[in-house]
Symmetry: C2
Subunit: 241 residues, 2 copies
């Protein structure tokens, strides 16, 4: 895949419907991009990919590098990746996600109907992440899984990387509309799906606007084949927003 | 692009919002597939692509082959194409679109969450097609354009080709959920977007299930950039269903 195109495996509504027993082998996933996020079999933790390295961030607060060779048995029931080449890099401080959103909109004024790939490097404060504990039974939907998630607020400012995507409103149910970001600290020992965060001072924000979106649907997965995929948009916003 | 993948340019909600002054050059479009449908600049008529040949079917009931060389100035503001290699071919008769839908569902029992590319060859009866007359002003939305469409029912049975796609429900607003089909007669002199049709006897139906969907969004098109794209799903079903 060319640079700055989104490759997406499955659709977020399938996670809402609990389709997470199978997935795309991570060796296949990283062949489509070096920057991304997603989840693992049975929604056990949060996936982040940066500089081509893939990490699993679990609800027990451990972070593990994941083997992405063809020998790996790790799979992604849902993921989005890109071969990230930022077109704009700037420094800014922001108090919360809304302020970050405004910075990105200032730098990409014509982006509302497009995707953005986003990376932020620096020191963050008040960062609250969640890590899904995983399904308590196969087929459990993301809303229920979300009720068992662990959330954690870093008491001290923490240096690390934020990896994410902004997806346009009209993709809701297929992608996660709005900003969807995962955090991993500099030591690659803690992280998760960002619920809220801000900065004290400037951080480095880099991003690229994306107009090509490739969706691969799960084949040979009876759970996906039978799923209703009705797209509980409000639910997705609650659990992934 | 590999065989039996959908390449789509723009999203159907953009047509609903009247984004049709620009588009993908048809030379680019046919590089992604040999089978498909779409529309032209200002929604002037219906596009059908079969065996790599592209035709414009207008509301004055003329059909014109369109130059797809790089020299062509024809563009598609919206189109879906595939490099079609049917995986199932069968013969059947059907009284209406609903009965055709049932035949396809019988042959592709696990297809509800996937795309189908469809081609039908034979003699059709009671076929009613519409051909959009085009925008009366730039930016006019598809619903209004639809009010000025010409529809035509063939009085006699007519031999020809039907080219289309079935798109899953969750794509509504981006694609056209359900069966979306265009007809062109054997002589390539008449045709349009199918509103209703049936057969007297058996026709040849070929199709392929598709799990890879590539969406290219219009860049450098201020109309797309500014469009609301709120996705009037009921409206799309009325005007494109």
């Amino acid at each position: 895949m060319a640079v700055n195109e989104v490759f997406q495996y499955s659709i977020i509504s399938a996670l809402m419907d609990g389709v997470a027993s199978n997935g795309l082998p991570v060796s296949d996933l990283v062949s489509h991009g070096d920057h991304g996020l997603g989840t693992f079999r049975y929604m056990a933790g949060e996936m982040v990919i940066l500089d081509g390295k893939l990490y699993q961030m679990k609800s027990d607060r451990t972070v593990t590098p994941v083997d992405t060779s063809p020998a790996s048995d790790a799979v992604a029931p849902f993921a989005m990746v890109t071969r990230f080449r930022p077109t704009v890099t700037f420094t800014a401080a922001f108090a919360d996600k809304k302020a970050l959103f405004a910075h990105l909109s200032d730098h990409f004024p014509d982006s509302r109907n497009f995707f953005l790939a986003i990376r932020i490097e620096g020191v963050f404060k008040g960062i609250t992440v969640r890590t899904a504990a995983g399904q308590s039974r196969p087929g459990e939907g993301l809303m229920e899984v979300g009720r068992n998630q662990t959330s954690h607020t870093f008491e001290q400012p923490v240096r690390g990387s934020v990896i994410g995507f902004r997806s346009p409103e009209y993709t809701m149910g297929i992608s996660v509309a709005g900003d969807h970001m995962h955090f991993i600290n500099e030591d690659r020992t803690e992280g998760g799906h960002i619920l809220s965060f801000g900065t004290d001072g400037d951080v480095e924000i880099s991003a690229a606007q994306i107009s090509r979106w490739h969706v691969e649907l799960p084949t040979n997965d009876p759970d996906f084949t039978k799923a209703k995929l009705e797209g509980d948009k409000e639910g997705i916003a609650v659990v992934e927003g």
